[in-house]
């Protein structure tokens, strides 16, 4: 426990350093792409717990993300909307304006998404495979359509003027040394990744995998399979909600159009590209599929071929699926052992020794 805490603190310090470095030396557009990569990583890693580990094919991640985005923005943004009774526009001032308030709003978004996860999970988890995918897809669409018709949060136009928050370290105004979006996003990336890695290695995580591999056998081994599946949904939904909140405050505007079915598919593609069931794969998939379209934008301009971006993007995916259908990592994780295996001519010696730490971690979660 103490070690995990130390790891977390070191990681947060690195986030802070990275934030200051990027803000100082890297152009804003690139920083924006890096921030988007962070959001994608949270989405992919959390979806991996549902789709990869537990094997429940969900296409509703955009729905959870939308809930998180709107709930957190609801707290932090001045809401202006048309009041039909008095026939005039009214503005409700933001409920929170401090950094702590922002964090609270993010968590609230995550919790709201998690609650939605339970509500969706209970009726739909009787379904398997394709049917579950269709039901979760339906859920995502329902969320989006509800939001579109909810005037208080802007309806189809969405919500604009979502504020950005920062922690000012020193100085004032434009030259201030401050931690901003990058720090918040990557702190949550670190929390999500560390927690998911811990989960995956724990006995509880193995039980999730057991549900994926053979649900009947898992049940007769004493694993409460329904509860496990709901847990996976709640966990995934919570972090999708957080990612949604970060996304809203990064772009400073949220519209229902950001959370279409395509957004869910995009996250699934990240997983499949990296290797379904591998957290390393999810991270790599998220990075590649967020950076690639942006990188290709430059190619497009230079070659003067508008639209070629999506062609190349699709081609990369098709080629990968032909030559490596299991994804870049398969189900493997990037670990010291994998690295050692990549070095030719070396036998893995420590292979037989059991890792006692793995089992101890099991009960902590």
């Amino acid at each position: 426990m103490r070690r995990s805490l130390a790891t977390l603190l070191v990681a947060l310090a690195i986030c802070a350093g990275m934030n200051l470095f990027l803000a100082q030396f890297i152009e804003e557009y690139v920083v924006q792409v890096i921030n988007m990569v962070g959001v994608s990583i949270i989405l992919a890693v959390s979806l991996n717990v549902i789709n990869g580990l537990t094997g429940q094919f969900s296409l509703g991640h955009a729905g959870f993300m939308a809930i998180g985005a709107y709930v957190s923005a609801f707290f932090t943004t001045d809401l202006s909307y048309f009041n039909p009774d008095t026939a005039e526009y009214v503005t409700d001032p933001a409920l929170v304006s401090s950094v702590w308030g922002y964090l609270g709003a993010l968590i609230a978004g995550g919790v709201a998404a998690a609650v939605a996860g339970v509500l969706v999970g209970i009726p739909t988890l009787r379904l398997k495979g394709d049917y579950l995918a269709i039901a979760t897809l339906g859920f995502g669409e329902i969320v989006r359509i509800l939001i579109t018709n909810f005037e208080k949060v802007g309806g189809a136009n969405g919500l604009s003027g979502v504020p950005q928050f920062q922690i000012v370290l020193s100085g004032e105004g434009k030259d201030a040394l401050a931690l901003d979006g990058t720090f918040f996003i990557f702190s949550f990336v670190i929390i999500c990744v560390l927690l998911s890695a811990q989960l995956q290695r724990s006995t509880f995580g193995r039980a999730l995998i057991a549900v994926r591999e053979n649900e009947l056998a898992a049940e007769v081994m004493g694993i409460p399979t329904v509860r496990m599946k709901i847990f996976a949904f709640v966990y995934g939904a919570f972090f999708a909600g957080i990612a949604g909140g970060l996304f809203a405050h990064l772009l400073q505007t949220v519209t229902p159009a950001s959370f279409t079915f395509m957004k869910s598919v995009e996250v699934v593609v990240m997983l499949v590209l990296g290797g379904l069931g591998s957290m390393t794969g999810a991270i790599v998939g998220a990075i590649v599929l967020t950076v690639l379209p942006e990188a290709l934008r430059d190619v497009e301009q230079e070659a003067d071929l508008p639209g070629i971006r999506m062609v190349v993007y699709s081609l990369v995916l098709i080629l990968l699926m032909i030559f490596r259908p299991q994804g870049i990592f398969g189900q493997r994780e990037l670990s010291l052992r994998l690295l050692r295996r990549l070095v030719p001519g070396r036998r893995i010696s420590g292979d037989e020794t059991p890792k006692p730490s793995e089992d101890r971690k099991g009960t902590e979660l």
Partner: protein, 239 residues
Amino acid sequence: MADTILELDDINVYYGAIHALKGISLKVEQGEVVTLIGTNGAGKTTTLATICGLMRSKTGTLKYAGQDISKCATHRLVCDGLVMAPEGRGIFPNLTVGENMRIGAYACKDKVAIEKNLAHGYEVFPRLAERKRQKGGTLSGGEQQMLAIARSLMSQPKLLLLDEPSLGLAPLIVKTIFETIDRVNKDGVTILLVEQNANIALKHSDRAYVIESGEIAIEGKSADLLIDPRVKAAYLGES
């Protein structure tokens, strides 16, 4: 007289409109090996599924260790020592042998007991100890069956339900599996065994029930059934 560990009385199970079990009644005494034999579709697997709560009976009583378990969730029964090794072995192919074993102890929270059971499991099945780090899916059929049995023993069952342990295995391997079953029984685990291979099942059990299209057709001591002309004709391939 030993205690009755499992008692089914007038169990009726339906798959939609299909009446799969028509008033099954049977008993398993503490320490016995009881086998349930019958052809494909006779209702053997359904009987096991009903016992461990995967299927529900419309009527009758289902008692385990004197308690009514007809409404218990499957995963709860594991904590009470009623464990099934499902048909087709049901191992987790992408987990290692060791991880598979530990999943078997999921219901057990006692760390010391888990380690002890694990050591004992590897002692009974040295083959699995050799393959600890190997993925479950890479084992041979016989090894997978051993893993399935070893894994179900991890939760220290009192009653072990085995569904077709001989399925798809070479005769020599089947022999080893049944020797293992004998040994597990000697260690004090009561066993209810479902088999199509009537010959070997009868030789390795105390009592037997023959199930035919959802009903118990014949019951008796296994040794008697081995020479029963009806059983011989229908299940042992002799006339």
